[in-house]
């Protein structure tokens, strides 16, 4: 069975066998070629078999194989008949991206960019197993799990207005820290306020191109050369442990024998175990919001110190790309509440959705799509059409095409650093091997990904951003 072409960028896998709904892929022919190379389509079909799934199992243009659900998968389930699955969220709960704007121009900071990067590297702990500077008690950690970015701002990390520029205002209210295991707390305690490693990064960027003046203006992006800062990280070991714990808990409660992949383990959303996972996941989401809030604060401090002031460093937005949320969507002509899983997918709500902050209500929410290390990233605006196309979702990044193993075989970290340096891009990392694994060539072409998003209407391209200085975890 193969994907049936609907139009230039839309493909469908009809419901067959145990599939309750069709699966739909948004990709160009070229991206579909990459997607076909691994298990992505089989995984999208498996998701289509899950109880209570509504409309379709969706695959975003940057999709690749995950465990259970594909990365770049979107699926929504009925609250009564449907399920919730840790595999539909991923291990790095609320892995996401925060974007800060500045009033600085590329030319202003060019002589100081080395100093800025060095300052950020000093302030923001990064790398494998790296502990943060904040010593926390378990009680404080539980407060953070309950209140997310609100906690961070009350404790001096950031500005109150950052909250309205964060998905969920930086706090999921259904969070319950009591559902977080001792082991997850232990992993979370030393890691708050750290970037982590792998594909996580912090970049000083500049605007390369503006494609939608009106939306750009609304987002505080005023012209080519303007400096921005992008932060990409998640809930660290705490989130990973929550996923691990509940894959086990749900497996023990509901069994895994009927599943084509044990990572598809799930529970009815309204069951005791389903609710426990949901509340624990919300708590991990809050941890990640607090994490990015603290990192953003340190970035502002460094800019303030090096450039004299951090004025104009407003937050554009903060998006989650690994999460499950209860949202209202139209299904079969009726509006109903669903639990929408976005795994490696970004919410892309258009104007008029109540979740979109008032200041962006005329243009849609900002959607932040990081490219791979050292390549372009994009700022998009959510659309109204996306609600009907993908439950209001679009891509989350470039998506890998080469294994880490293969990237290590082909590339050298030091060489990548030198190549970037020749293009005027500074790079700092705790591991050259890590840099080689994240080589730009190991990823799909993010331009192609956002082009498809734009053409299909999942999210409109507003601006293209390029790196000035990169800190890789």
């Amino acid at each position: 069975m193969d994907a049936r072409k609907i139009d230039e960028n839309t493909w469908e896998l009809p419901a067959e066998g145990d599939m309750r709904v069709p699966a739909r892929v948004y990709a160009s022919a070229r991206l579909l070629q990459d997607i076909r190379r691994d298990q992505t389509l089989a995984q999208a079909r498996n998701v289509a078999c899950l109880p209570g799934i509504e409309r379709m199992s969706y695959v975003m243009p940057d999709a690749h194989q995950g465990y259970g659900f594909p990365i770049g998968g979107v699926a929504a389930f009925d609250l009564d008949e449907g399920i919730i699955s840790p595999g539909g969220v991923g291990y790095d709960i609320n892995c996401g991206v925060r974007l800060l704007r500045t009033d600085h121009d590329e030319a202003d900071i060019a002589p100081r960019s080395k100093e800025l990067l060095a300052g950020i590297v000093r302030e923001v702990p990064a790398g494998v197993g790296k502990a943060g500077v904040t010593k926390l008690s378990r009680d404080v950690l539980k407060d953070i799990l309950t209140r997310g970015a609100e906690w961070a701002i009350e404790n001096g990390y950031g500005r109150p207005e950052d909250l309205e520029r964060t998905e969920e205002r930086g706090r999921m209210r259904d969070a319950s820290p009591d559902e977080i295991s001792g082991r997850a707390l232990e992993r979370g305690l030393p890691q708050l306020g750290t970037l982590g490693a792998g594909n996580h990064f912090l970049e000083i960027q500049k605007v390369l191109e503006i494609r939608d003046e009106r939306a750009a203006a609304a987002f505080g992006v005023r012209g080519v050369g303007q400096v921005l800062v992008m932060i990409h990280c998640g809930s660290r070991g705490l989130g990973h442990q929550v996923a691990t714990d509940f894959i086990e808990t749900l497996g023990n409660a509901y069994g895994v024998s009927g599943l084509p992949d044990r990572e598809l383990v799930n529970a009815p959303f309204k069951s005791a175990e389903g609710q426990r996972y949901y509340r624990a996941m919300c708590a991990a989401v809050n941890y990640a919001f607090a994490n990015r809030q603290m990192i953003a604060h340190w970035v502002r401090e460094v800019f303030g110190r090096v450039l004299g002031d951090a004025r104009g460093m407003d937050q554009v937005y903060d998006v989650c790309h690994n999460v499950a949320k209860v949202e209202e969507h139209v299904v079969g002509g009726r509006s109903k509440r669903l639990v929408v899983h976005r795994k490696g997918a970004t919410r892309s709500f258009g104007p008029s959705r109540p979740e979109v902050p008032a200041l962006y209500r005329t243009v849609g929410q900002p959607v932040i799509i990081p490219g791979s290390m050292g390549t372009a990233s994009f700022l998009l605006a959510g659309t109204r059409e996306a609600e009907a196309l993908s439950f209001g979702s679009t891509a989350h990044g470039a998506g890998r095409v080469l294994s880490r193993h293969e990237a290590l075989r082909r590339f050298r970290g030091e060489r990548i650093r030198d190549d970037l340096a020749r293009r005027g891009i500074e790079l700092k990392s705790t591991s050259w091997k890590g840099v080689a694994e994240e080589a730009p060539e190991a990823y799909k072409d993010v331009e192609e990904v956002v082009r498809v998003s734009d053409e299909v209407g999942l999210g409109r391209v507003v601006a293209k951003l390029g790196p000035i200085a990169v800190m890789k975890g």
Partner: protein
């Protein structure tokens, strides 16, 4: 595969996988394959061969089946690394026993605390059940995918 008398038995092999870490570990017994899987996991983050077996940490895990037992055992290695900064260098005395409701595993992990002497080169977030295989055929082979 494990071969008696072979001078240097292959303990594990890292396999290509698009986004994550995948490996197979081998042993003449299930215990040996589990021990080698722990070293394979360690090799994704640090050079376990350069780690002195200075500290010994007994671990004990239970699982409803061998798969869960393996995921929990490897989870223990990750947990000790993240929370105690413990680098595994050797795995000793692995014992797997059938017990009510499943299986139990006991082992002694030997290694040392992370210091400047060691270089870390990868970040394993979690051990997954995806494509997890435990096969008994001419010894034992286990296959694991970890999220990186």
């Amino acid at each position: 595969m494990a071969r008696e008398g072979a001078p240097a038995m292959e303990r594990y092999r890292i396999l290509p996988h698009t986004a994550d870490g995948k490996f197979q570990a081998y042993g003449e017994t299930l215990e040996e394959a589990f021990a080698n899987a722990a070293l394979a996991l360690a090799s994704l983050v640090w050079d376990w061969e350069a780690v002195e077996p200075a500290e010994r940490r007994p671990v004990r895990v239970e699982g409803s089946d061998h798969e869960q037992l393996l995921v929990r055992f490897l989870g223990e290695v990750l947990y000790l690394f993240e929370t105690r900064r413990f680098l595994l260098g050797r795995v000793g005395d692995v014992r797997i026993r059938r017990r009510p409701g499943g299986f139990g595993l006991e082992a002694t992990l030997a290694g040392e605390t992370l210091s400047d002497r060691h270089e870390l080169h990868g970040d394993v977030k979690a051990v997954t059940y995806h494509d997890l295989k435990i096969e008994a055929c001419d010894g034992f082979t286990v296959q694991v995918v970890v999220d990186m």
